[in-house]
Amino acid sequence: MQRRLFISKSLGVAVLGGTLPAAFARAAAAQTTPGAATAGNRVLVVVQMSGGNDGLNTVVPYTDDAYHRVRPVIALDPKTVLRIDDRIGFNPALSGLAQLFHDGHVALVQAVGYPSPNLSHFEATQIWETASPDRPQQYGWIGRYLDRVYPLGTKPASPFEAVALGDTLPAALVASHVDVPAIGALGAFAYNTGRDLASKRSAGALYDGASGGGSPYLAMIADTAREAYHGGDLLRAKIAGYTTSVTYPTDGFAQQLRLAAQLIGTNAGAQIVFVSLGSFDTHAGQRAQQDRLLGLLGNGLAAFYKDLAAHGNDGRVLTLTFSEFGRRVEQNASNGTDHGTAMPLFVVGGAVHGGVYGEHPSLTDLDHGNLRFATDFRSVYATVIERWLGRSAADVLGGTFPHLDFV
C-alpha cells in the first residue's frame, strides 16, 4: 500500500521522459502465461446481456405449439433453429455459440431465476449483481468475493487481476476495499493531456513525489493517484507482447473480449473480467434487434474461445453470461416482448461439462404470464465460486445453494 516511487523529485520531468518507472517496467516486461487450469490461475469472465434478454428466442422450444401460438409474429421458424434436441434449438444468430456447444464446451442452464422476481431493470440488475434478492447490498457478489480473497491491508499482485471493461464499474464488482479498475477504451485509460506532453510528464513527477501528510486520506489519495497515472502505461506494457492470429469481429463487444484475452494471456494476470453487451430491452420490433445482438454474442464468444485455445488458455477460462431477466412469454402489440422472469444462461469453457442443465420451462404453467424459474441464479454463482474459483461461497452469497455439475 505504501509503495513509493520517488523518481527524481527535483526535476523528474526530464528523467521520466515518457518511460515507465523502473519498478513498473520490470513488472511489465511482457511475457505470456499460458498453462493448464490450477486453482491459482483460473479465470472467470462474466458477460452481462443488459436490458433483459428474451430466453425463448435464444433457446427456442421450436416444437412447442404454445410457443408458436403466443408468438405469432416473432416466433422463429423451426426450420431455421440450430437443433439441440428434438424440442429445443439455438436461435440461428447464435451459430458461433452453437458450434462451441456441439464441441462440448458450453453448458446451457435452463430457467434461471429467483423467487418473487423483480421486473425493474435497475432493481433486477442490482439483484443479479449483488446476489441479493431480498435486501439491498452495497457490494457486488464478485466484490464480496474479492474482499475475502484480499483482506484489508493486502492487494492483488497485479492491479488488473479484476477488471471491468467499460466506463463505469458495474455493481457486481463493487468491493469494500479492493480497487477494481474500469477500463473503457484502452487508449482512454490514461492521464490525458492531449498534445501537451510536458504537462503529462509533470503530473507524473507530482504523483511520484507525493506522500501522505496530516490528513487521514492523503496517503491513500497519493498512492491511488500514482497508480491511476501509471496504470494505463503499465497495462499497455503488460499486454504489449500478446499477438493473436484470430480475427475478431469489429464491434465493441468483440473488441472487449479481445482485450480480455490479452489481459488473461499476459502477466496483466486478469482473473476476473466483466464485459457487457446490450441493449436487449426489446419491447418493439424484437427480432431484428435481438438477432443482431445474439449474433454479436455468439460470434464474439466464438472468436474469444478460439483465441484462448490458440494460447493454451481455454482450459483455465470460464465464461458466464447473465441478464437481469427474461421476457414475457406472449409477444406484445409492437412485435416485441415486455419484461419477464426466468431465462437460460450459458457457461463456456474448455473445462466446462457441456450439455443442457435443467428442463426447458413450461409455456403453459405460468406465473402471471411469466416463466417459472427452476434454478436459482445463486446456485450458478455458488458453483462458480466453489468448484471453479475454489473458495467458500456461503459467506459471499449469504447462504448455501446446491451446486450444478457444469464444472
Binding site: 466506463d167 464499474l169 486520506y217
Partner: protein, 476 residues
C-alpha cells in the same frame, strides 16, 4: 432504549484523524484566527468552494459572521427556475433526457447559487434518504430535491414526516402499496435502519408495527393522498410504547430515542467535520440536537461555529465527493455554465446525482477514491482546461502574478486554489513545467522559448490543471 450505533458497514471507520480531541471545548464557538485557510475550509464544507476572491471576501467577516453569511444569507439569490423547465416539454418516453434535465437543473443551482449551504444540505439529505431516478421518474426527483432544499435545515421530525409522504419516496420504497389489507414493510424498515436509528436498534416486531402505522398513503395524479380506509388504526406496540399510532406518532417516538440523536449527530459529523468521529463528540452533538428540539439549522450552526470544525483535525480531513470536486473546480475557475456531459463524468467519478446506487446512498470516504474514479477526476480537469474559457483566464493570472514569471504564477495558483497547502517540491515541478520549452510536442521547435508571451495561454492552462490535480486538492 440505550442502543449502540452500528458502524460495521461504514467504510469511513479507520479514517479518524490522528491525535486526541478535547471534547470539553470541541463544540464551543471558535474564536481563533480566521484567515484564508479557515475561510476556504468553511466555503468547501458549508458550500462547494469558491474562487480566490470568494475566499478573500469571507476573511474580514471573521468566523462567526462568515457562518452567519451561510446560515442567514442576506444577499438575494440568483434567479432559478423552481422546477426544471424542460420537464414541461420533453415527453415522458424520453426518460434519459428528462433525467439529464433534472441533473443539470440541480448542478446549475449548486454552481451559481449565492446560498450554497441550501444546496449542500440538500445534497446531504439526498445521500441520506437516497432515492434514485432509476426507479422514480425524474419529475418526482426534482420535487424531492426541492423538499430537501426547503426543509433540509428545518426540524428533522418535520422533515421525516415530509419525506414519508413525498411522492418520490412513496414510489422508491413502495409505501404507496402499504395498506391495511396487505402491509408493505419496505419503508418502515428503512426508516429505522437507514434514515433514523441504525441496524440493531429495533426489532422485526417494531418494523411490522411501524409498517402498520404508515399504511394508507398512496399516489393520485402525482400527489400523495391519505386513504383512511387503507389505514390500519388499530393498536400498535412500537419501541416500548403502545397506542393507535399513525406515521407521525411513530416518527415522534423515533426522534425521542437517544440512539436516533446519536445516529443523526454521527452522520452530520461525518459529512461536515471528519470521518469516524469520537463517541464523545457524537454524544456532545446529539445533546445539542436534542436540546434544539431536532432543529437542524441550530445543530449545523453549532458544527460550523465550533472549535473542532476549525481545528487541524478537521482541516482537509475528508476526501471531496465527486460533486464537491466537480462544482468546486468550476467555482474556483469562475466557469458559470455546467458542462453538458457533467452528469456522465460524475457517474464515472462514482456519484451521479439523483441516481445513488442504492437506498444506502453513497458510501463516501475511502470509497470515493480508486484508480478509475481518480482518472475520471484528473481527466475532467484536463478536459475542462482544454475546452472552457473560465473567468480565471490566463490573462487574469498573468496580471495577478505581475508578469510572465513562472514562480510568481505558481504562487498565484497554489495560494488561490489551495491556500498554499503545497510542498516546495510540487511548486518546483509546477514552475519547471511553465519554464520547460514548448507547450506541446508539436510546438517544441516552434516555441523554443520557455514560458513567455508566445505560448503563455496554453502553458498557464496546463499549470492550472496540474495544480487542481494535486492530491491535496482531492481533500475537502
Amino acid at each position: 432504549m440505550i442502543g449502540k450505533l452500528d458502524t460495521s458497514t461504514d467504510p469511513q471507520v479507520g479514517f479518524r484523524p490522528a491525535g486526541s480531541l478535547d471534547v470539553s471545548t470541541a463544540l464551543s464557538p471558535f474564536g481563533g484566527r480566521f484567515g484564508p485557510r479557515q475561510a476556504a475550509h468553511l466555503l468547501r464544507r458549508a458550500g462547494f468552494g469558491g474562487s480566490a476572491a470568494d475566499v478573500a471576501a469571507l476573511v474580514p467577516l471573521g468566523a462567526q459572521h462568515a457562518v452567519d453569511a451561510f446560515l442567514h444569507p442576506t444577499v438575494p439569490d440568483v434567479e432559478f427556475a423552481d422546477y426544471p423547465p424542460e420537464l414541461a416539454t420533453v415527453p415522458p418516453n424520453m426518460y434519459g433526457v428528462r433525467v439529464r434535465a433534472v441533473q443539470h437543473w440541480w448542478l446549475d443551482r449548486m454552481l451559481r447559487t449565492r446560498r450554497p449551504l441550501v444546496e449542500k444540505i440538500a445534497l446531504f439529505w439526498h445521500g441520506h434518504f437516497a432515492t434514485a431516478a432509476s426507479k422514480v421518474p425524474p419529475e418526482y426527483m426534482a420535487r424531492q430535491i426541492d423538499l430537501f432544499r426547503l426543509q433540509g435545515l428545518g426540524n428533522f421530525r418535520t422533515l421525516l414526516a415530509s419525506v414519508t409522504t413525498d411522492p418520490a419516496m412513496l414510489i422508491w420504497l413502495d409505501n404507496r402499496y402499504n395498506a391495511k389489507a396487505h402491509p408493505n414493510e419496505n419503508y418502515a424498515r428503512e426508516v429505522m435502519e437507514l434514515f433514523a436509528l441504525g441496524l440493531g436498534n429495533y426489532t422485526e416486531d417494531d418494523v411490522r408495527e411501524a409498517a402498520r402505522a404508515f399504511t394508507g398513503w398512496t399516489l393520485k395524479n402525482g400527489e400523495a393522498v391519505f386513504n383512511p380506509k387503507a389505514h390500519d388504526d388499530g393498536l400498535k406496540a412500537f419501541l416500548g410504547r403502545t397506542g393507535p399510532f399513525g406515521g407521525g406518532d411513530v416518527i415522534a417516538i423515533i426522534v425521542e430515542q437517544p440512539i436516533h440523536q446519536r445516529f443523526i449527530a454521527r452522520k452530520l459529523l461525518e459529512f461536515f467535520v471528519y470521518s469516524d468521529p469520537e463517541p464523545e463528540l457524537i454524544e456532545s452533538l446529539a445533546s445539542v440536537y436534542a436540546l434544539a428540539g431536532f432543529d437542524l439549522a441550530r445543530t449545523v450552526a453549532t458544527i460550523l461555529r465550533s472549535n473542532v470544525f476549525y481545528s487541524n483535525r478537521a482541516y482537509r480531513a475528508l476526501p471531496k465527493s465527486p460533486i464537491e470536486f466537480a462544482i468546486g473546480t468550476l467555482r474556483y475557475l469562475g466557469v458559470t455554465t455546467v458542462p453538458d456531459n457533467l452528469p456522465i463524468v460524475l457517474a464515472r467519478m462514482g456519484q451521479e446525482p439523483i441516481n445513488p446506487p442504492s437506498v444506502k446512498g453513497w458510501d463516501g470516504g475511502p470509497a470515493w477514491i480508486n484508480t478509475t474514479t481518480m482518472l475520471a477526476r484528473f481527466n475532467y480537469v484536463n478536459a475542462l482546461m482544454a475546452t472552457t474559457a473560465p473567468t480565471l483566464a490566463p490573462d487574469a493570472i498573468v496580471r495577478a502574478a505581475g508578469g510572465y514569471d513562472a514562480a510568481r504564477v505558481v504562487e498565484v495558483l497554489v495560494s488561490g486554489a489551495l491556500q498554499d497547502d503545497v510542498t516546495a517540491d510540487a511548486r518546483a515541478t509546477l514552475t519547471g513545467y511553465l519554464e520547460s520549452s514548448g507547450a506541446s510536442a508539436a510546438g517544441a521547435t516552434a516555441n523554443p522559448l520557455p514560458f513567455g508571451y508566445e505560448n503563455y495561454q496554453e502553458k498557464i492552462r496546463g499549470a492550472v490543471a496540474l495544480t487542481l490535480n494535486l492530491p491535496v486538492n482531492q481533500l475537502n
